[in-house]
C-alpha cells in the first residue's frame, strides 16, 4: 500500500494474506469456507497452483503473528475465462479458494459483503484498499509486515482508459483495460496499492456495510502521478461466485 496507514486490529477483518510458492498476495474472506482473490495469485506460468502450496492467513494485522496459524485450502477455483500466459491479459482476474475447515467469525475475522449483481461504482466514491504488499517509506519501497490501508476514489472508466492508453504509447506490454476492471486512485499519485497487495480487497461502504467492489489486480508502477490502480470489477462476477460456492 502506497501512501497509506497501518490498519488497527479488527478494522479490516476480511483481509487475508496468501502465500503461494513463497509469493505474497492478498485476499478477502467472503464466507465461512471461502476466500476470494485474484486469479493471477494462483496461476504461475499459465499453471494453476496446487492447493497444497497455498497458505492462507487471517485475523491479525502483523504478518509475524499471522504466520503461526495458517488455514488450508480444500480446493481452488480460478475463473474459467482467466487466461494470462504472458501477463498481458488480466481480464477475469478472479479466483475462489475453498477452505478445508469452516471459520468461526469474530471481531478479527469477518466476511466482506458481496455486491449486488450489477452494482454501480460511483466515480469519486472513496474505497478502502488494504494489503501486506509493498509500501514506501522515505522514498524507499519496502515490503511491510503490517497490514496497511489507503483510501482511494473510484476513477471514471474513461479517464482510466485514457490513462492506460497513454501508458501504452510510452511502454511496452501494458495490459488492456476491460469492462471487467475499474480504476481507483488519485491523479497526483502517492496513494495506491502495489505488489503484494494483489488479490486484496477494494471495499466500498454503503449503509454501514463494506462490500467487495474490487480485487487488487494490476497497475503500472505504484502511486505514480497519472496512473491508477486497476481492480477486478467484482459486481460483474456475482453470478459466477454464487454458482461456484453453491456447486462446491
Amino acid at each position: 500500500i502506497i501512501g497509506g496507514s497501518e490498519a488497527p486490529e479488527n478494522t479490516i477483518p476480511w483481509q487475508v494474506m496468501l502465500s503461494v510458492d513463497g509469493g505474497r498476495g492478498g485476499g478477502m474472506v467472503i464466507a465461512d469456507r471461502w476466500i476470494m482473490t485474484a486469479a493471477h495469485n494462483l496461476v504461475h506460468d499459465g499453471n494453476p497452483a496446487s492447493k497444497d502450496t497455498v497458505r492462507i492467513y487471517m485475523g491479525l494485522t502483523d504478518v509475524k503473528s499471522l504466520l503461526g496459524s495458517p488455514v488450508y485450502a480444500a480446493s481452488i477455483h480460478i475463473h474459467p475465462e482467466y487466461n494470462n500466459p504472458n501477463l498481458l491479459d488480466y481480464n477475469n482476474d478472479i479466483a475462489l479458494i475453498k477452505l478445508q475447515d469452516q471459520i468461526t467469525f469474530n471481531s478479527s475475522i469477518m466476511p466482506i459483503c458481496l455486491p449486488a449483481e450489477g452494482a454501480t461504482y460511483v466515480t469519486g466514491e472513496m474505497g478502502l484498499v488494504s494489503g501486506f504488499g509493498i509500501t514506501e517509506t522515505n522514498n524507499r519501497r519496502i515490503l511491510t509486515n503490517k497490514l496497511k490501508y489507503v483510501q482511494v476514489p473510484v476513477v471514471e472508466q474513461a479517464i482510466c482508459s485514457n490513462s492506460v492508453a497513454l501508458l501504452k504509447r510510452n511502454r511496452d506490454n501494458v495490459p488492456d483495460l476491460t469492462n471487467n476492471m475499474f480504476c481507483a486512485g488519485v491523479p497526483e499519485g502517492k496513494k495506491d496499492s502495489c505488489q503484494g497487495d494483489s488479490g486484496g480487497p477494494y471495499a466500498l461502504r454503503h449503509d454501514g456495510q463494506f462490500w467487495a467492489a474490487g480485487i487488487v489486480s494490476w497497475g503500472v508502477d505504484c502511486g505514480k502521478q497519472g496512473t491508477y490502480g486497476v481492480y477486478t470489477r467484482v459486481a460483474n462476477y456475482v453470478g459466477w461466485i454464487n454458482t461456484t460456492m453453491q456447486e462446491n
Binding site: P13, F105, N106, M110, P111, C113, G208, F210, W211
Partner: protein, 439 residues
Amino acid sequence: SWRLPEPEPVMHGAVQSPNYPQPYSPNLQEQWDLSVPEGYQIRLTFTHLDIEASAGCYYDSLTVLYDAKILGKFCGHENSADGHHPGTQPILSPGNTLTLIFQSDDSNPERHQNVGFSAQYQAIDRDECSEPEPDDGSGPLCSQICLNTLGSYVCSCHHGYELRPDQRSCMSSCGGGIFDEPEGYLFSPGYPNPPPHAVSCQYIISVEAGFTVSLNFTDNFHIESVDTEQGPNCIHHWLEVTIPEREPIKLCGGKSPGLIATNSNTVTLDYHTDDEGQSRGWSLDYSTNRVKCPIPGDVAMGRVTPILTEYFYRDYIFVRCDQGYKLMMDGEEITSFSTMCQNNGQWHLPLPECHIIDCGEPEPLLNGRWVFLSGFDNQYLSVVQYHCNEPFYTLLGGINVMFTCEADRKWRSNNDIVINPICIPVCGQPTKLLTGYQR
C-alpha cells in the same frame, strides 16, 4: 375235560315227541329243559297231543314241570273220554324255565297208533310289578312306583323323593348338591310341609371366585329348637351355615335369619333333623355380588376413568395423564395403563404416576445459543429463545426465534416448525472503524 357251554336262551321254539308225526316207540323216556331269558315266562301251546290215554296217564304221559313242581301231566287226545288232554289253553310257566318229560311204557294198543305231541313255546314278558309281594318279608319290589320293562322292571319315586342305592326303596329328596349358578332357590325337603324324620341334607353354594354369596331366608322359617335360658338351642334340629375360615353358624327357631351376607364365594348348608320333633323347614333365595375393590384414588396431573362410586370384580380403570405429562410406573415410562379389579378385591396393578414430559436439550445452534425464557429442565411448555453470536452472526429469517416444548416432545416455534434456526454471518461490519480527525 370239556366244559359244555350253557345253552343260549331263546325267545321261542318247538318241541315234538320222537318220530312225530309217526307213532312213538314204546319204552321211551325223553326230557326237554326249555329256558328263555331272565324276566320272561314260557308260554307253551300244544298244536297236537295224542298219547295213549290211561287213568292218571299211568302208562304213557307228557309231564310239564316248573322247578320240580308239576304243572300238568297229559295223555289221551282231544276227543278221548279218558286221559288228560291240555286242550287249547296254553300253559304258562311261573319262571323262565320249563321241563317236559315224555315217557311211554312197553306196550301200545294195536288198533290205534298214538303219534305223541307237538308244541310251540315262546317267551312272554313277566310283569314283575303286578306280581304279589314275595313271601320272604322283603316287602314289595318297589316301595313307590314299579315300571315293568321287557325282561325286567325298574323302580321309581314320587316327586320329592329319590331312589335309594338299593334301587327299590325311596327316600325323601334333599334337593341338595352343588349350586354354582349366580342365583338360586333352596328349600328343605318337603318345604313348606314338614319333611320326614332323620333328614341329613347338604347344600353347597359355590360360585366363581370374585363373587360373594348372600343368603336371603324367607319369613316362613321353622326349625325346632329347645328353649334354654340362653335362648333357643339347636340341639336336635338345625341348619348349619359354614363359611370358609369362619365359625359355623347353627340356625334354628321360628324366626327367619333374613339376609346373611357371607362375603364368600362358597357356603355350605347342612340341614339335620333327628327321628323326633317336627320342623316345617326353611327356604331361601341366594344371590351373588361381585367383589368390591377399593376406590382407586387420584393421580396427580392425570385422570382415572371411569369414575364410579364403587368398583367391582372385573371392572377396569384407565389412567391418562394431562397434556404434557407421561405415564410412569416403576421408573419406566409406559404407553398406556389399565388395571382390573381382581377376584380378591385388589387391583392387579397399582396406579401409575404422571410425570411432566421433557423435550430434551434443544438442538444446539452453530454460532449461536439458546436461553430459557421460561420453564426449566426442558420440561413441557418451557420456552427457549435462540440467539446468534452477535455481532458476527445473525439469525436467518428472524430476530426472535422462540421454541416451546410441546406435548409431542418436540420444540416448536410459533410457526409450528420443528427445524432449527440458522445463524448466518454478518458481513462488512467490522467492530472497529478506521477513524481519524485530521483534515
